[in-house]
């Protein structure tokens, strides 16, 4: 044998040996999985966020509620978009400060213990201690439990209190359990069997569930933050339901026999925030011009490939307090924009929009955490250029921080949840009240503030709806901000296997007791 051949052979033998060692255990694991799937009814759900803690009161990805482990006192009725009973049968308050809540008497925790008023009190109190955010949101002063009745007093009149209890971080759990972070015990249709932080959780049916036990035996709830990888996981058959698959992969998913792709508008709105402290933006006609310039349908069709709804106002049209805007259809397009600018005193000089010889130059902020926003900014920039407005795009990192502490910008793309718990109070207070933490416009409009202040003292839902609509109309008429679109949530699933999947508008309720397999 040629002596030079020795290293060649040795390397090959070594490499082949190690590779075969890798391969040998693979068929073993592959053979195990179909076997276990045949014996149990299982659904594998793939979610787009990962969490490393399952503490229902702290985890801001709301996985315990989404995976069907925990439930809240009240929930959002997805059809009427109103607050509906869940663990609480009913609730009442005359003044918005003193609340009585009647609990269901047939609910048990997954460890078999009954859900009593004292258990709910302890759970709410834990949520208040563990999370400053919940402390701020609920404004609870005292809680008293008497049998299945809770009496809660808030620190101030707070009509939104009931709707704030929709928040998954107010989930009711048995706080006497030792390891709430890794094994919370709730009242939902599924109890936790295992949890790998950042990777997945396994849940199994809770037979004593008060609303009828699930037909499924187990559910696997995995996380993957890469949209392409999520789509591929569905294609490979490793998972059954995928939350937010890659938009570009939808056509190839639809081409697979039995695959269902659903798209539902969310409570989110992508908006153009106006900095009311800037001289040019202070002019209503300029704001109207900018609003007219946004090619909403074009953006929906080209950037979001149709998976969004063009927005007129901040609230999703199906919400009870969303204005109808029927007789308020405003003109849009570049001609309308030019008309508004001319009304504001601007003239086109050599293709440049200028007033008193000063060209209209705008700084537009955008950030990449939401991938559509920089693209929307670019479309706006190019449309503005057509009529002679020079828009400079500035990419920022943390929008909330930047917009609050720097005022050297004119407009900004931003994305907001406008009624996450079926009530307008959050968005209107945060965005338009002078004290709101998201009031980046710097808007201090006495008339609007008065409406919001009145809303904050109004308890009756119908009256609240009227006031919220009034506020939304005021924002629209004065173009305090400009609304672009409501993005949709896309869910794809194997229709040959999964039964009764419902894409929730609120994105809170995912694994339910109705979910089944064929």
């Amino acid at each position: 044998m040629n002596k030079k051949m020795f290293p060649l052979l040795a390397s090959l033998v070594l490499g082949a040996g190690l590779l075969s060692a890798c391969g040998s255990s693979n068929p073993e694991t592959a053979a195990q999985s179909p076997d276990s799937a045949a014996t149990a009814k299982n659904v594998h759900f793939l979610y787009n966020f990962a969490t490393s803690s399952l503490d229902p009161h702290v985890d801001s990805s709301y996985v315990p509620l989404r995976a069907g482990i925990t439930e809240t006192l009240v929930r959002l009725d997805e059809e009427n978009l109103t607050v509906a009973p869940w663990l609480a049968e009913s609730w009442d308050s005359e003044d918005g400060q003193h609340w009585t809540i009647d609990l269901r008497d047939d609910v048990t925790f997954q460890n078999g213990k009954p859900m009593t008023g004292d258990a709910v009190k302890a759970s709410l109190e834990r949520a208040l201690t563990e999370s400053v955010a919940i402390q701020n949101a609920l404004k609870i002063d005292t809680i008293e439990a008497d049998g299945d009745k809770l009496s809660i007093t808030t620190t101030q009149p707070f009509p939104e209190f009931a709707s704030e209890l929709v928040n998954p971080n107010t989930s009711i759990i048995d706080v006497s359990e030792p390891d709430i972070v890794n094994k919370p015990i709730g009242t939902g249709p599924f109890s936790l069997t295992s949890f790998t932080p950042g990777s997945k959780l396994e849940v199994s049916r809770y037979d004593g569930y008060w609303d009828g036990a699930s037909p499924l035996d187990t559910v696997t709830f995995s996380f993957n933050e890469d949209a392409n990888a999520r789509s591929l996981a569905l294609k490979s058959g490793q998972v059954d339901i995928v939350y937010r698959p890659e938009v570009e992969s939808l056509e190839s998913l639809k081409a697979i026999d039995g695959m269902v792709v659903e798209s539902a508008s969310t409570f989110r709105v992508h908006q153009l925030t106006m900095n009311m402290e800037r001289e040019s933006i202070k002019d209503l006609n300029v704001r109207k011009a900018l609003d007219a310039l946004i090619d909403r349908q074009g953006i929906v069709d080209t950037i979001l490939l149709g998976h969004a709804e063009a927005a007129i106002g901040p609230f999703l049209p199906s919400l009870p307090f969303a204005p109808k805007y029927d007789n308020k259809a405003t003109e849009s397009g570049s001609e309308a924009a030019v008309k508004h600018l001319e009304a504001a005193g601007y003239k086109s000089e050599n293709g440049v929009m200028a007033k008193d010889g000063k060209p209209l130059k705008l700084t537009l902020l955008t950030y990449s955490a939401r991938a559509d926003l920089p693209l929307i900014a670019q479309v706006f920039q190019s449309d503005a250029k057509q009529i002679g407005i020079d828009v400079e795009i500035r990419q920022i990192d943390t929008p909330e921080e930047y917009m609050a502490s720097n005022r050297d910008w004119d407009i900004a793309t931003y994305s907001n949840l406008t009624a996450p718990r079926g009530d307008a109070g959050y968005y209107l207070n945060a965005t338009y009240h002078p004290t709101g933490a998201l009031n980046f416009s710097g808007s201090e409009d006495p008339e609007l503030t008065a409406i919001i202040d009145e809303l904050n003292l109004t308890v009756a839902p119908e009256k609240r709806a009227v006031l919220a609509e009034q506020a939304a109309n005021y924002v629209h008429d004065n173009v305090l901000n400009s609304f672009v679109l409501h993005p949709s949530t896309i869910v794809a699933y194997n229709g040959k296997k999964v039964k009764n999947w419902v894409s929730s508008l609120s994105e809170y309720y995912m694994i339910t007791n109705k979910l089944d397999v064929m």
Partner: protein
């Protein structure tokens, strides 16, 4: 040997303190703080006063030296704080994610060795042959292809089209294959070329010729003399590039939903979870220090010349 270790360990404390101080400065000077995340302003109504009160309470309004002082005090008490986003002790969180990343890194290194050693050796021994050309082509492609894209291609090939390998999570050995192969392929290109050139250099040395003259077998010459002599530059590069290797792990961890420390820290950076970021930097500094010390010590084994020189110096 003992003296070297002792000197190293006394250096390490100063080194760690310095690293922690610099990283502390960088993290705090970057725009943004965790207050908005903690208060969940994206979903809950919060007033500007509440934001300001929280900032004050958490000490973010204190001058930087005061903040560093209080952090240092906790640090010497080995109290690394709790994560702002989960409320869990930082070290416990990091330590539970560390084994996953260690597994992934070691697996990737094994794949890298399986590719780099045979390919590097063959292209040195058969210099200019088709195998040398092939290895050059592979190295160029390997260096040019981004690892996340390579990962997606591998998922598509072996998870969807021609196989049933797990594409995500950490479920035993099978789920390690795709991430390790992706990362291993991505890093191997550098080492193939490095090993080849280092081997070529060794094979032309006097000691190889004298070994042949002594009638040693080609295999013995290659494995015991030439390869051993070629390893120090490869190991040096490895020690230096370990940091970027761990950086590469982050991309792979996200793509394959692998619950490692890299993914944890990316989320922590996004949420400005200071204690978690600081804890991560501390752990990584220690890992890099240990690896570099091991690299230094390995020279003495791989290159007997060093030991001899040391002995001479003692005389």
């Amino acid at each position: 040997m003992f003296r070297i270790l002792l000197r190293k360990f006394s250096e390490v404390f100063i080194f760690l303190l310095f690293i922690m101080f610099v990283s502390f400065l960088f993290i705090r000077l970057a725009p943004g703080d965790p207050v908005l995340t903690i208060l969940n302003v994206d979903e809950l109504s919060v007033s500007q006063e509440q934001v300001e009160a929280m900032r004050e309470e958490m000490g973010f309004n204190d001058p930087l030296p005061v903040q560093f002082g209080s952090w240092l005090l906790d640090f010497v008490r080995l109290d690394f704080g709790t994560s702002y986003s989960t409320g869990q002790p930082v070290m416990q969180t990091l330590m539970s994610a560390l084994p996953a990343t260690a597994e992934l890194t070691l697996g990737a290194l094994l794949v890298m060795l399986l590719i780099a050693v045979p390919l590097g050796s063959l292209s040195a021994v058969y210099r200019g042959s088709w195998i040398d050309t092939l290895s050059r082509m592979l190295s160029i492609v390997g260096a040019a292809v981004p690892s996340f894209w390579l990962g997606l291609i591998l998922i598509d090939l072996f998870g969807v089209r021609f196989g049933n390998l797990p594409t995500m999570g950490r479920d035993g050995f099978a789920s390690l294959i795709l991430p390790c192969v992706t990362l291993g392929l991505a890093i191997s290109s550098v080492y193939v070329r490095l090993l080849r050139s280092s081997l070529l250099d060794s094979l032309s040395q006097e000691f190889v010729r004298s070994a042949r003259a002594r009638g040693l077998s080609e295999g013995r010459i290659f494995w015991l003399h030439a390869l051993r002599h070629s390893l120090p530059p490869v190991i040096t590069v490895f020690g230096v590039s370990l940091g970027s290797l761990i950086g590469g792990v982050v991309v792979i961890e996200v793509l394959f939903a692998y619950p490692g420390i890299g993914k944890l820290v990316v989320d922590a950076i996004r949420q400005r979870d200071y204690p978690l970021i600081q804890g991560y930097i501390l752990i990584m500094a220690i890992v890099v220090f240990i690896v570099n010390t091991a690299v230094d010590l390995s020279y003495r084994y791989l290159n007997p010349e060093m030991k001899l020189k040391e002995k001479e110096a003692h005389r």
